[in-house]
């Protein structure tokens, strides 16, 4: 049993990171902290892809004399794309937070919701 868990430790790491990230997104009211949680959540998925791509004893997939076993390069390429998507998401999220702070003078979710409710009066802008 223990050996089974140990042999899949990369999956356990992934599950822990995913749960931690998702928990932060749900439980925290601070907009920046939510984005941090989202980043951790996304990172956990990178692990899911990259870890199985490694083959024990395998080398970088460049054809050369004397090497027979290569790691699978495809997951790395996919995750390179996913990382770029993650960076773009984070940059856009932070940009939105900057604008929200300028508009509301706060980055706490409950505070922002309260400020919208207060001067509502039918919701006319």
């Amino acid at each position: 049993m223990l050996a089974h868990i140990w042999s899949h430790f990369d999956y356990w790491a992934m599950i822990f990171l995913a749960m931690a990230g998702l928990f932060i997104v749900i439980a925290r009211g601070n907009l920046i902290k939510k984005l941090v949680g989202l980043g951790i959540f996304q990172t956990s998925v990178y692990l899911l892809y990259v870890a199985p791509g490694k083959i024990v004893g395998g080398t970088a997939p460049i054809v050369a004399e004397g090497f027979r076993v290569y790691s699978n390069p495809l997951p790395h390429v996919l995750i390179l794309t996913a990382i770029v998507v993650g960076v773009a998401t984070l940059a856009l999220g932070l940009a939105l937070v900057v604008r929200i702070r300028e508009a509301y003078d706060s980055i706490e979710e409950d505070e922002i919701l309260r400020r919208d409710q207060a001067p509502d009066g039918g919701g006319e802008a």
């Binding site: 995913a18 998702l22 997104v25 907009l31 939510k34 989202l38 959540f41 996304q42 998925v45 899911l48 892809y49 199985p52 495809l74 997951p75 996919l78 794309t81 996913a82 998507v85 773009a88 998401t89 856009l92 999220g93 939105l96 937070v97 604008r99 929200i100 508009a103 509301y104 922002i112 919208d116 039918g122 919701g123 006319e124 802008a125």
Partner: protein
Amino acid sequence: MNLAAHLPALQVVLPLAAAPLAVLLRGRGAAFMLVTLAAWAAFAVSILLWLQVNASGPISYALGSWAPPWGIEYRVDSLSALLLMLVCGIAAVVLPYARASIERELRQDVHYLFYAMFALCLAGLAGIAITGDAFNLFVFLEISSLSSYVLIALGRDRRALVAAYQYLIMGTIGATFIVVGVGLLYLKTGTLNLADMGVRLQEMTSHRPVLAALAFLTVGISLKLALFPLHQWLPNAYAYAPSAVSAFLAATATKVSVYALLRFYFSVFGETAVFKRLPMEDLMLILALAGMFVASAVAIFQHDLKRLFAYSSVAQVGYIVLGISFDSVTGLTATIAHLVNHAVTKGGLFLLLGAVMAGMGGTTLARVHGIGRVMPLTAFGIVLCGLGLIGVPGTAGFVSKWYLILAALEKGQWWLVFLIVASSLLAVAYVWRFVEAAYFHAPRADLAAVREAPAGLAIPAWTLVGATIWFGLDTSVTVGSAARAAAMLLGTGAP
């Protein structure tokens, strides 16, 4: 070079190339012309593809000449051809509207960026519908999502920022769930090509990672298509976005996600794996019904028309998912026909609401009192679209609801027929709220001199209203294509 052979590539590349060119040109007139031309060209390409698929079956296009399943394949079959036509058609109608609309709603120095984002969003949505590669689908999903977050945040109201932020959080969680699902499938099958994946999965559909992948994909895509109860991001996002963006996203974004769901359920996992071995039928039935009733009921109590019809969108997604839950050709025909019909109706409705916004300065029910007198055409158009949402005979909504009822009768579920009609009565209630405000109240004193919407706003809106009526009377395009696509998904007809 034979251009006809490269139409699948052009479908995505045309709008994708328009985006950086619009940034380079910077002038808002030039950017508008360029992106609109690209959208029209993309619409023409999608029609040609649709004709080609109808004449000679699915088209496969190997990007970079790397043969599938090793390379990325663009694959157009009867379902994706219909979706492409829908997405590009809506974009082709909304863009001319956007020029007149964002002139009023956006700062002039960001106009070219608006057009660039719009082009990116279109490229992403078209890409989802055309790609035959699971990871490519995720990338296009993120291209369309990221650009739609930006488009929503451009709204005038500061609540647009919060709505865009919430959509970003929910959308990214959904997309990450999809990547986990795709990753698990890749680990099991060693391929990313959707068709190849479907073949290889056949003998391992009850393996645990495959079931986990199914769960992750279902939750992730359901977040994106705003299936009740994962719809929380939708009402605010549609309500506070600029009018043209509300119309475009309401008509296309959730529809393309439904396409992704259909693709994974029927082409990858296969119908038996999803519906015969798991209680997915009951689950989707319950969620669809809950969406239809709860969202319609919430819509009745909204004060803002944009929010009211945004909740109505959640309810309509319920009808679409209801069709999937039948797991029959008639049910899927209803789903796919309702995709198109609802997109056209809701698109027209949000375009008209943009005209209301331009004329009356807002879309709250209190503000649109007496709009039937000051903007008679616009008000009449909204009523027509409202009838389409209810499903009155002669409108597009009737056709798809008719097929839903047929599918329910096929299964012998009489009580469902009653529920479908009952939820349509809720739609009567929320449309009536507009009718009451528009025709049974005097206009506010300061708004009595408002004029009818200018042609730049009215013509695109009425194009979609006209399409709503047209698809209600002539069902050969919508139901014909939908029936072919449904037969292909269930493997009972020619592809």
